[in-house]
Each structure stands twice: as structure tokens, then as C-alpha cells.
Amino acid sequence: MIERILLFIMIIVGFWGIVTKHNIIKKIFALNIINNAVVILFVLEGSRIGSNAPIMESGITHIVDPVPQALMLTAIVIGVCISALALSFAFRLYKITGTFDVREIKRQVHHEA
């Protein structure tokens, strides 16, 4: 239970970070935080029903649930790809406007577009 509360706090922090931080890089950090929180949530909760890793060598029983782990492999890779793309947008905007502050970028870009 305490782990779930901690993960809930992590999600709060991540979501709050995405919305309120003005630096683009910090928004991307927060997106990573919230992605990681969800991954930990799935794997943690799936591990409660067993005590062995799901590698079926001879004599292994009572394994943890392997399905959340497989799903989260996909989710981690997708999260990394989104972060990479977001960072490339941040770099592009930095080259155009010279700043990472979203408000400043918006002001400059609306003057040009």
C-alpha cells in the first residue's frame, strides 16, 4: 500500500511538473518521471502474486505475473522514443529562438509565423 501511495505522489509530481514548469527540458524530465511511475506501478503490482522470476527452469513454480513485464517493455521503449523526439523539438526551438522558456518561445514564434 505504501508503495502505491509513493507512486501516486510521483505521478502528482510529474504531472505538476509538465504543466507548471516553463523550461522545455524540465517538462520533458517530468514526462519521463510520470512514464517511469506507471511502469513501476505495473511491474510492482504484478509481482505480488508470486515469488520467483518467470524463467521456467526445472522446478520453478509460483512465478510473478509475466504479462505486465512484457507490456512495460513496450511502454518503456515508447516513452524513450517520445522523449527523444521531444528533445529534438526542444533543440530546434532553441536554434530558432535562443531560449528554452516556453513563454518566450511562444512570443517570438507568433511574431514570425
Binding site: F42, T74, F89
Partner: protein, 570 residues
Amino acid sequence: MKPEDLLFAPVVLPLIGAALVIAAKAFLSRKVVKIVEYIGAFLGLGLPLMFFAIIYPTISNGVVIYGIIGGWHESVGITYQFDGLAWLVNILTYSVCAAAWIYSLDAGPEGPSFTSVFLILTAALSATIITSDIFNLFVCLEIVGISSYILVASTDKPGASLAAFNYLIISASAMVFFLIGVYGLYRITGTLSYQGITETLQTLPDHGGTSAIISVALIIASTIIRVAIMPFSGWLPDAHALAPHAVSAVLSGVLIKVPLFALSRVLSFIPSGASAGQLLGYAGALTAVLAVILALCQNDAKRLLAYHSISQIGYVVCAWGTAIHVGVASSQGEALMTAAFLHAFYHALFKGLLFLSVGTTVDRAKNRDVYTLRGAASILRASGERIPVTLITFLIGALAITAIPPFNGYISKNAISYALDGTILYYLLFVAGVGTVASFIKLSRIYWQKPNEMISTKPQPVPITAHISQLGLALICLISGVIATPIYANTKNLLTGEYPQYVTNWYSPATLMKTAVIVMLGAGLYLLTTTKIISRLLKKLRELPSHFESLFIYFSIGTAMLVGWMLWFK
């Protein structure tokens, strides 16, 4: 080989095309890469249309092809379901994507990277509607998302990168909540397929209770961000206005509709899904009105079209939501669902047409402001268009969206209004129709009169591919309006399994009278907006600051309202 074996052709063929283009780009010289691009596009956008023709007889007999990818056991494999809805949405996807790709050959971004990402987007859109597994829906929506962020940013305009970034952040955060919803559902039911979830939830007391409702609400809210009804639509005007023209056509035409129809299957998990449909219906109607008011204020031609996309998708969501609320099996529900799909399909066609025609025009005239651009018709003639093809196709698109007979917009809008007759939604959509007429009169003014400044250099000639794609879409708009009754009948059969019992009279005196009233009121509204007071008010509305945080606050409040509504009206 039965047709069912080729079921994944619409997903695999574009992927093979994309893989060939990527391999050619790495190995071969530029000229050969261009040839491989054409081969890849034909494989990926042309061959699937043949597949749809082959499989149509099976589907129209009511056969639902259902299976598990790889033939594994049901509890661990990924299930898929190909029924009439999947067939129709795929036709929508492929027709618009093919036209947009042909347009992009000369006018838009071109090159192997654009073609490969475009083909991957098409494959993912196809997979979104065929899949019957909630985590696979997540993966497909992510592929759609990531390819659309790249396509939006594939231009040199600085605003496009910021628009793509905003779209990325809101979409990626929404998908995190989608995953939390999947967590909730998997915890309660232990399975990920739609069928398994529905059956397991039925065996539980209270259909899974609060947790099931919250999980389904999170999944709905995350998907509705992509559908962009208000208040979730903050990202759409920038992204669609600043993207290249071919990409805007695909975004407005296809990307805001496919997640909606994929969501139809999710809403049947729990009985509260019906009340969610009711709330979405109201939200859709309000969106239709509010977005058209905002569209009236805009001065940039493509932003005006983008706000109109929001308004028209409001029509579709209104009909779709109400259909789910009254039950898809009832007669009103069937009529509404058919009307919703028809309007989605026709909107994809005429909105794509409008984006392509207006795009050609503003590219020649080098000005996108509807208040200052005049005389585009003569500019187009100066650029070598002897027959004013672009002007004609724009007019066809404008007549279609304002619901003038005999074009297809008339058929679909009246189908929706007829099925919603008597409710407050009917009046809201009426008001939205008036606003649509007014703003299209405003937009069409860019073509008349003489140009404001003399164009010093001869504008570039309009490429033949632009003409082909625009004419193709315009022709389909005209034909689908004229042969409306068989199309309506077959669509209803594909969606619900039975043909309509009686033939609707599309040209009844009452409907024609209503159309005439809407046009007159629309013209009056337009004249009203040219007065000083109203135009100052519109300017104030246009310049309202839009904050980045507001996207998320609306998402938060909207999700909470959805959960509250679903819990209240269990």
C-alpha cells in the same frame, strides 16, 4: 487462400512499402529511390483498396471476422475483429491518404522520409480500428501519434515545431493516463481483449464498481484528446494550421476520426458507457457552436479551416454519442450511428479537398490573411490555370461543408438533424450550420475582386498532381451526394446488419426550406460580422491569450466531469 487470410493486408502492405522505401534510401541513389517511393506508395496506398473490394461481399453479408493473431490461446493472444465498421473506417483512411500523398508529390514535403512516415501512419490507422485488444490500441495510437508529430514538424516554419511540441506533450501525458486505465481494467478482469473484459465485468457484482468506471473514463478521456472536441481541442488549431497542406488534410480528415470509432468498442464494456455517450453528445453539440464562432473570428485561412474541423467533428461526436446513449440496437441509434459515420466520411473528403485547394491558393498568392487577400482567382489564372480548377474545387468543398444540395455534406448533415429531431441538440446544430455558412462566405471572399497588390513575379504553375488529387476528391464529393440513397443503405447494412426499411426523401420540401433558411441566416450573420462593433468583438476573441496550462486544466476538469457523470448516472 480465403479472403480472411489476407485480413491484415491493409496493415502489412503499407509497412512493406515503408520498409522498401527506407531500405532504398539507405542503399540506392536518389533517382532510384524516387522510383521505389512510387512502388512503395502503390503497394501501400493502392493495393489495399483492391483488398477492400475483394472482402466487401463477405463483410456485407454480416460476417464478422474475429480471431487471434498467431492463433494462440484466447487469454494471452491479441484478438482482432474486422466488421463493417472497420471496413468503412479503412475506406475513409485510404481514400484521404491516397489523395493527400498524390498532392504532396509536388507541392508538399517530399522525399523518402516523408513517404515512409506517411505509409507507417496509414498502417497504424488501419490497425487501430481492426484491433480488439486494449494494449494493442495503446501501441497503435502511439504509432499514429509519433508519426503525426513528425509530419506536423516537417516544414521550415518555426511555429510548426512549437505546435508539434505542444501536441506531443499533451498527447503523451494523456497516454500515460490511458495506461493507468489499462492497469485498472487488468487488475479487475485479468484480460486485455475487449471481449474478455466485457464478459468478466458482467460476472462481477456492480460491473466492477468505481474502479471499472474510472478506468474506462480515463481511457475515453485520453482518446478524446485526439478527437479534439472542446474543451480538449487547444492543440488542434496550431497543429493543423501550420502543418504542410497534405498533412493538414490527413490530420483533419482522418486522425480525428479513427480514434473516435475505435472508442465505440470500448464504450460497450460497462453500462455506464451509455451515459458517457450522452455527455459526449452534449459536448459535441456545444463544440459545434463554439468552434464555429471562433472560426468566424480567424484571419488566417488555414486556422479558419482548422476551427471548422473542430466544429464538424462536434457534429460527428454529437450524433455518435447520442447513438451510444440510446443504444446502438434501437432504430434511432442505428440511424444516428449511420449518420455519424457518413458525416465523418464526407467531412474527411470535403475538408481534405478544402485544405488542398486553399493550400494551393495561398501558396500562389503568398498571403494567408482572409482580410487582406483578394483576387486569388486572377492570381491562379496568372499562374497558368486556364480552366479555374482550384476555384471550382474550392467551391465544391465550400458548398459541401455548408450543406447545399446536391453535395454530400447536405446528405450527412440532414441525416444527423433528422435523427436528432426535437431535442435541444437539433437547435444547437442548426445554429452551427448558420455559422458555417457565414464563415465560408468570409473565406470565399479571397477569390473575388482584384488583387490588392500587384504580383511582381509570375506565380509558380499549379502542378498536375495537385489538380489530380483535388479533382478526385471533388468528384467523390459530387458522386456521393448524388447517389446518396444506395450509399446510405449500404453503410447502414455494414454498421448494423440490416438495410433500412424505408427510403428517406432527401429532397423533401421541409428539408429544402430549412437549407434555404440556413443560407439566408448565414448571409445575414456574415453581413453582421462586417459591421464595426461585431468585427471589433471578433478581433478581441481572436486575440484572447491561450495558455499552455489551459490544455491540461481542461483535460483534468473534463476527465473529472466524465467520471462524475458516469458515477451519477450509473
